[in-house]
Every structure is written in C-alpha cells, then in structure tokens.
C-alpha cells in the first residue's frame, strides 16, 4: 500500500520547487506520480516536505571510530536508548555513539543516507561489519588511499595505468563507494615520526609528493568514472597558515573536480596578536571562483567531543597540546589514524576563531550547491547538533546572541560579526540533502521527483529552526513511516552502496601478489571483502566518459 502526503509545502531544490503546495505520492519504496486510491494519507498541514537528509561526511563506523568508543567509557555514561523506550536494540550515546543508536538518531533528525568517509582498506571488513548494525539509513564508505605504498611505487615508476587498475581493484576489494585522501603522504611520514608540510615536499622513502599523489588519484577516479570525485583532507590541516596549503592544493587541481572536506579545519591564518586568525573569507572566495570545487564545512560547535582522524601526526600534535588521552593506529602499507578527546570552549580564543570560521564559510560561499552541512562528526561536534547549526545559519539574531557569548578578544577579530546573511529553508534543503546527493552522484536521492527513492522527511514549520529540524513530524524510509515526532517507530535496514569499476586488473595481478607477499601480513586471498559482508548491497553505476 502506498502513502500520499497531502497539504504540505514541498521543498525540492533539485526540481526548483520552493514551498510548493503539492501532494507527494509514494509506492513500492519510490516516489510515484499516483500512489492509488488505497494509499495511506499523511496530513502534512503546516509542514514542509523534503527528501531525507544525506550526510556526505560522518565518522560512524570502522576501526578508529570503535577505538573512540572504546577509549571513552565516560562518553557513554550519560545517554542511552533502551527497549523500554521502544527501541528494538539498546545502546549508548555520547559523541561516539553505538551503531544502533547512531542509526536511530540520524533517522530521528530526518536523515536517511550517511557516508563513513575514512576507512583504510585493511579496515573495510570491520567497517562493513559495523554498517550491518546501523539501522534506518543507507550507507557507504570511502577508502583511504592517500598514503598507499602500492600507489607510491607506481608513482615512482610513472605507471599511471596501473594506478587506475589498482584503484579499480581496491574499490571492489573494499566494497567502497569512492576514494578519500587524508594528509597525502603525511600518514606515511608519520611512520618515521615526521609529517608533510608542503604539497611539493618529497616523501622520505618514496620519490613522490602530495601533489603527484592527489593528481594521479583524481585522474584515475575520473578514468574509472567513480560517481563522487576525490574527497580530500588537505596537508597541514588544523594549524596556522593551513589555508595556504588548501589554496595551493585547489590550484594544483587545475580545474579537475574536487571535494575539499571539513574545509573549516584548513581555514586558519597566522595574523593577529595571537598569530591565529580566520582566513575563511579568502577560502570562500577561492571556492566562489572555482566551479570545480565543492566543500563541506566541518563546523565546530562548543562542547566536549572526540576527535577521530586518519591524520596521525595531527592527533599527536593535539595530544601534546591538550595532554588528553591519545590512541594512535598506524596501518601497514596503507595509512594511519589517531583518536584524542577534545573540549571546544567559548573562552578559548582559538576555539572561537574555529567556530566563527566555519560559519563564515557557510555565509560567504555564494552557491549553496557547492557547500555542505557537516561537523566532520564527531571532530567539530557530534551530528546531533545539526539542528542547532541550522538555526545559526537561518537566524541572524540568534547568531548575534551567540557571538556575544564567545571570548571578547575573538569576537572583536572575526569577520563573522558583520555577516547578515540568513539561509532560507530552500538553501538548507540544498546543503543537507539535494546538494550532497548530487555531489555523491546519487541520482535517486536528495529529491522528490518521480522515480526517486521514497526517503522523505516532513518537518513541522516553526520559527525556531532548531526545534523544527530536531524532531520531524514524519520520516519515511523506502516508502515506510519509520519515525514520528522525532522518535523511531519502526526499525528498518537500508542498503550499503558500492561501486564496481569496469576496469580489469590483469596488469597488476603479479605486482599485487609480490607486494602482499613482501610487505603485508594478510594473505591477498583473504584481503578482499566479499558481498557476504553486505546484506543489502546496492551497486551504483560508474559513469565512464567516452
């Protein structure tokens, strides 16, 4: 039986619809033209109807996320979900919540698709095992390749066609959706307790540079026709003058498509009395001028969180800075990671600049189709803060009140204080679903046109945007009502999306066998993740240009 959502105002930016009064028809898990006479009617009077949210970057599964859970029992103590509250599976919350809790919470905010963006190939099997236990949403992983010694070896020899074959092979071997690069070359250098500070700096043991790594992988991805372009965490992230590296990286791309992730963390300068400043306006200009680039912000919000990143040297830096707990996990031949708890404080000058820089990126980038809402969960803040962030973007009076609460010294310096822009609901729909779905290449998501997946969020309109987005009146996943009034009512499981590039890998088979024999501790035959780890696999086609 279908569903007909009536009397609501549809916001569907993919089709240019801005608060259009029309019915939305759902049948067999899809948006249809007519759900039929027997359809269940949902009366959405006073509500806006949007596609389900699509999060392009959120650390929710895999080895380093599980270390973040493990290392911080104190993070789980004060929040839980239980069967008594009507949930199928109990769990705990905190910033690194358990898998079931993660799925429930996303659903309860109206999100229906999430991407775990940083899985080392050797961790892919673990990540998929966790995805099996995340309900309510469709999922995908990106594979980390920016410190791959196999790619470095091919780069040294200039064998780009073999890089294409390797990436094709590794996408299949990890059942991944796209490629992420974190601090290219940096995690490799961290294996010598060093780091990379310039995109043209040579690695210690491989005759290559971050620039060469980035370009080779981006070109391989284009050749293979992966639906999402290179997803990049820049070198030098999190330190003064990181913005210079971000600009140099963007320029190096020379027009190739690029997604710069959590750009806020790369938006710092070294000016002012404290030698720490926001250069977000400069980066926003760079994004405005380069149509090949999209970004997600990685907004910082005040409060306690846990930082989790494949950027091992950065986490060591943070550990030294804060004296906090520190977990480091280098991954043979591939990458690394670090975990450090962190508390963003309103009285910290640096934290206030970070908070403001994220908002400045949102407000100064003109085209909402190229800037996406993220907190780099949980690095800037946990994802449950999205409704608060939406209010900061939509309500300039509220924003001004918040600026008054931060460190006065920081408040005096930030460009944010003169920005009056308010996001519209239409723009919020773009940065939280339509834009992210489009950039991910998910043609059936992020819109309410006929043929789209019936993933829908119905929000009760309110001037308090935070309340409105925290508790959607209805959430529909694959054509079924799964949450009401911000509470899960039915446990369902979404798909795991992956790609299977057509490119064969005959030319690298022997190289791989030799490499695994020499440097890995896992047999190559045991390395690939089979489809048996994906109970609901969804193959997304690659688009190879003729």
């Amino acid at each position: 039986m279908g569903i007909r959502i009536v009397n609501g105002e549809v916001i569907d930016p993919a089709h240019g619809e801005d608060r259009v009064k029309r019915d939305v028809h759902i049948k067999d898990g899809k948006i249809v033209a007519d759900a039929g006479q027997d359809a269940t009617v949902i009366d959405a009077t006073g509500c806006v109807v949007m596609a389900g949210g699509v999060d392009i970057h959120t650390h929710v599964a895999g080895p380093k996320v599980n270390f973040a859970r493990l290392m911080r029992p104190e993070d789980h103590r004060y929040e839980h979900v239980s069967r008594e509250d009507g949930y199928e599976r109990s769990g705990t919350g905190g910033v690194a919540a358990t898998t079931y809790t993660t799925g429930y919470r996303y659903c309860e905010m109206g999100y229906t698709t999430i991407v775990e963006p940083a899985v080392p190939p050797l961790g892919a099997r673990h990540a998929h095992e966790e995805l099996v236990d995340i309900p309510q949403v469709d999922k995908a992983i990106f594979t980390l390749l920016g410190n791959s010694e196999i790619i470095f070896q091919y780069l040294e020899k200039g064998e780009t066609s073999k890089i294409n074959e390797y990436i094709s092979w590794i996408m299949d071997a990890t059942k991944s959706y796209s490629v992420k690069i974190v601090n290219p070359g940096g995690a490799n250098m961290w294996k010598y307790r060093a780091d990379i500070h310039d995109i043209d700096q040579k690695l210690r043991d491989f005759d290559t540079t971050p620039r060469q790594i980035i370009l080779a992988i981006a070109d391989a991805m284009a050749t293979l026709g992966l639906p999402h372009p290179l997803h990049l965490h820049c070198n030098n992230l999190g330190v003064p003058d990181s913005y210079k590296t971000a600009i140099a990286t963007a320029e190096a791309m020379e027009g190739r498509p690029l997604h710069l992730t959590h750009l806020q963390f790369s938006s710092y300068g070294a000016s002012g009395k404290r030698k720490f400043s926001s250069e977000a306006p400069r980066l926003a200009r760079m994004v405005n001028d380069n149509k090949n680039i999209t970004i997600d912000v990685g907004q910082v919000l005040f409060g306690k969180t846990t930082t989790i990143t494949a950027d091992g040297p950065f986490e060591y830096h943070l550990h030294k800075l804060t004296g906090s707990k520190w977990y480091n996990g280098d991954v043979e031949c591939e990458d690394g990671c670090g975990v450090v708890p962190y508390d963003y404080k309103r009285k910290s000058f640096v934290n206030c600049i970070q908070w403001a820089a994220g908002l400045e990126l949102f407000l100064l980038i003109d085209d909402p189709w190229r800037v996406y809402l993220t907190t780099d969960h949980p690095n800037g803040a946990p994802f449950i803060t999205y409704p608060h962030l939406i209010r900061l973007l939509m309500d300039k009076d509220f924003r001004r009140e918040q600026v008054e609460k931060i460190s006065a010294e920081a408040a005096a310096e930030i460009p944010l204080k003169v920005l009056d822009r308010e996001y519209t609901l239409y723009e919020i729909a773009i940065i939280t679903r339509s834009g992210t779905a489009r950039r991910l290449g998910l043609v059936n998501k992020g819109h309410l046109g006929v043929g789209g997946d019936a993933d829908v969020a119905v929000y009760r309109a309110s001037r308090n945007w935070e309340e409105m987005f925290a508790k959607p009146a209805w959430v529909i996943k694959d054509g079924q009502v799964v949450a009401k009034e911000g509470k899960v009512t039915r446990q369902v499981f979404g798909t795991t999306m992956y790609v299977h590039p057509a490119r064969g890998f005959a030319d690298i088979e022997k190289d791989l066998a030799d490499f695994f024999e020499s440097y890995y501790t896992v047999n190559i035959n045991n390395y690939p993740v089979g489809l048996e780890y994906l109970p609901r696999p969804e193959l997304i086609p690659c688009q190879v240009k003729a």
């Binding site: 290392m71 239980s82 705990t92 358990t98 707990k325 280098d330 020499s518 896992v522």
Partner: protein, 314 residues
C-alpha cells in the same frame, strides 16, 4: 582494556612491525610457547621493507621474571624480580624523561641496564614493546599495562614507538570490538536495566559470580571452569547453565545443557579479529553436523520473544 580506556596507546598493525621495527621487546610474554607463529610472521625473522634480512635487522629483548623458551630467540634477556614490573617501568619512564632514579638497581635490574635499553628505544627507527599475561595477570593488573602505555607515550616524544598487547584466546579481540560497537564497552557490560552499563569490578564475570548474583548462565565459547578463580567457578555449579561449544571442556562437563555448535574457522566460515584488530575472513575446512553458533542463540531469542508476546496477549 581498562589501561587503554585510561590513557590510550601508541599502536599499529603487525605489518608495521614486520616492515619497520628494528627493536622488539617482549615483556612478560613467552611467544615461543604462547604465540609460536608471531616471531616468524611479524616480530622476529620476518622480512619486510626496512628489514630485508629479517632477524639480522632486529634487536630483540626479552623481559621476564624467569628464563623461558623464548630466551634463545632474544639478543638480550633482562630478568626482573617477580611483582616489580611497575617499578621497573616507572624507572624507565624517568630515564626516558631525563631523570635518573637515585638508586643502583630496581626490581633486581641495574639502572645501567635500563639506561642502555631506554637509549636503544630512543635510537630505534621503530621500537615495539609487546606485553603479555606476565603484565596483565599479575599483581597490579591494569596499572602495569597503564605503565607500559605511558612508557610508550613518553617514548613517542623521542622516537617512533609502539606498545602492543599479546592478545590470545582466538577471537577475543573480535568479541571486544563487537561488544564495543553495540554497547560502547568492550567487556563487563550489564543489560539489567534494559540498556548497557559498564563497571569493571562490579559487572565483570568474576565479581558477579563471587557475589552469587547470577541465577542462570549462558556460556558461549568460553571455559570459565578452567579459567576463573575457584570461588567464582564454583557458583556456576549451583545455577542452571547452558553452554555452546564445539568441544568437550571442563565447562561442558559441568553444564546442565550443552549445545554443540560448529567451530568458526574450522567447520563454518566466519570472521575473527587478529590481536592487532584486523578482521580475517575464516574459511570452513571440515564438515560438521552441528548448527552454526549463532543459530541456537537466534532460536532462543525468537522463542523468548514469542513467549513474551503470548504472555502479553493473555
């Protein structure tokens, strides 16, 4: 685990040891008997990127309270007084941080010996300290592991250094990981309130059994009758027990109900996590007439739900 929760640790997968480590220390661990393949695959004779000659490219130190069969594989054996691991590690931390303890020896080890060892760590391309049950199961328990991790973190200010536990018991790492992503905690989880709560010392199995709190036990692929303290194991004899295990054990002999199940990695495929948290796909090599280990559990939970539903309806 508790030590990891308290402060974290510098760690890596075993391939890093194979490819880069030029200094390997085993502390309270006897890999020749407990992990016989470890040495050839990862930590001793294994050849790797920076260790093309294998054993010749590594300096291996064994620290233990008595000589073990592993000694003959080491370049240096340091014998310490039983129960003095914490003191020796503390002295090493002092030396690492530039302070010399005001004594000639600690735990029967000369300070000069420790000085030399600390200097080796500082000079290492990659130093690795593997620690075993001699650390974790002795007086002081997680405090000892904590001292190891703290030493690793202190040493990380000078050189690339890793501290890795020699985990055993087949898939204990996988069970810890699964518990963690489903509950937030790796062990000692109590679901009594309908959601996971964690408190080692209160909810850990030994403590529960010693208090005689459980009135029934479901034991999956564990051998409490052999591994637990007498007092704790004793309580299991007085309550109804169901055991899932492919083998006959002391625990199955004691159990009220035994459900034999297939053995993952032997008679059914499955996934096991290695000591460095890498999951490995396990194949099936033998046939077995018994059910997969998750089948009885799924059946039991389905039956309980059905009974609950019937009760609710009447």
């Amino acid at each position: 685990m508790v030590a990891l929760q308290l402060g974290g640790a510098p760690a890596a997968t075993l391939g890093e040891v194979k490819n880069r480590a030029d200094l390997v220390i085993f502390w309270g661990s006897n890999p020749a008997e407990s992990h016989p393949r470890h040495f050839t695959r990862y930590s001793g004779s294994a050849k790797g990127r920076m260790n093309p000659r294998g054993r010749k490219d590594r300096y291996i130190v064994l620290v233990d309270i008595r000589p073990t069969p592993s000694v003959k594989y080491a370049d240096e054996f340091i014998q310490i007084k039983p129960g003095h691991d914490y003191e020796v590690l503390t002295a090493m931390r002092m030396l690492t941080n530039g302070n010399r303890p005001d004594m000639d020896s600690v735990g029967d080890v000369a300070i000069q010996t420790l000085e030399r060892l600390v200097q080796r760590c500082k000079d290492a391309r990659l130093g690795v300290l593997f620690f075993g049950q001699g650390i974790t199961e002795t007086r002081g328990k997680h405090q000892n592991s904590m001292a190891i991790y703290q030493f690793g973190k202190d040493m990380s200010r000078h050189s690339k250094f890793l501290t890795l536990p020699m985990r055993g018991h087949y898939n204990v790492v996988g069970s810890g990981n699964t518990m963690c992503w489903q509950t937030g905690y790796p062990f000692a989880v109590n679901f009594g309130r309908g959601y996971p709560q964690f408190n080692p010392g209160e909810f850990s199995v030994v403590d529960l059994l010693k208090r005689k709190e459980p009135d029934a036990a479901l034991i999956v692929a564990a051998e409490p009758m052999d591994h637990l303290p007498y007092e704790a194991a004793r309580h299991l004899e007085n309550i109804p027990t169901i055991v899932l295990d492919p083998r006959e054990t002391l625990t199955t002999k004691m159990a009220d109900v035994v459900i034999p199940v297939k053995h993952a990695g032997v008679s059914v495929e499955g996934t096991a996590y290695r000591m460095d948290h890498i999951p490995i796909k396990m194949r099936s090599v033998l046939n077995s007439p018994w059910p997969k280990d998750d089948e009885p559990l799924s059946t039991i939970i389905a039956r309980i739900k059905a009974i609950r539903k019937e009760e609710a309806e009447t």
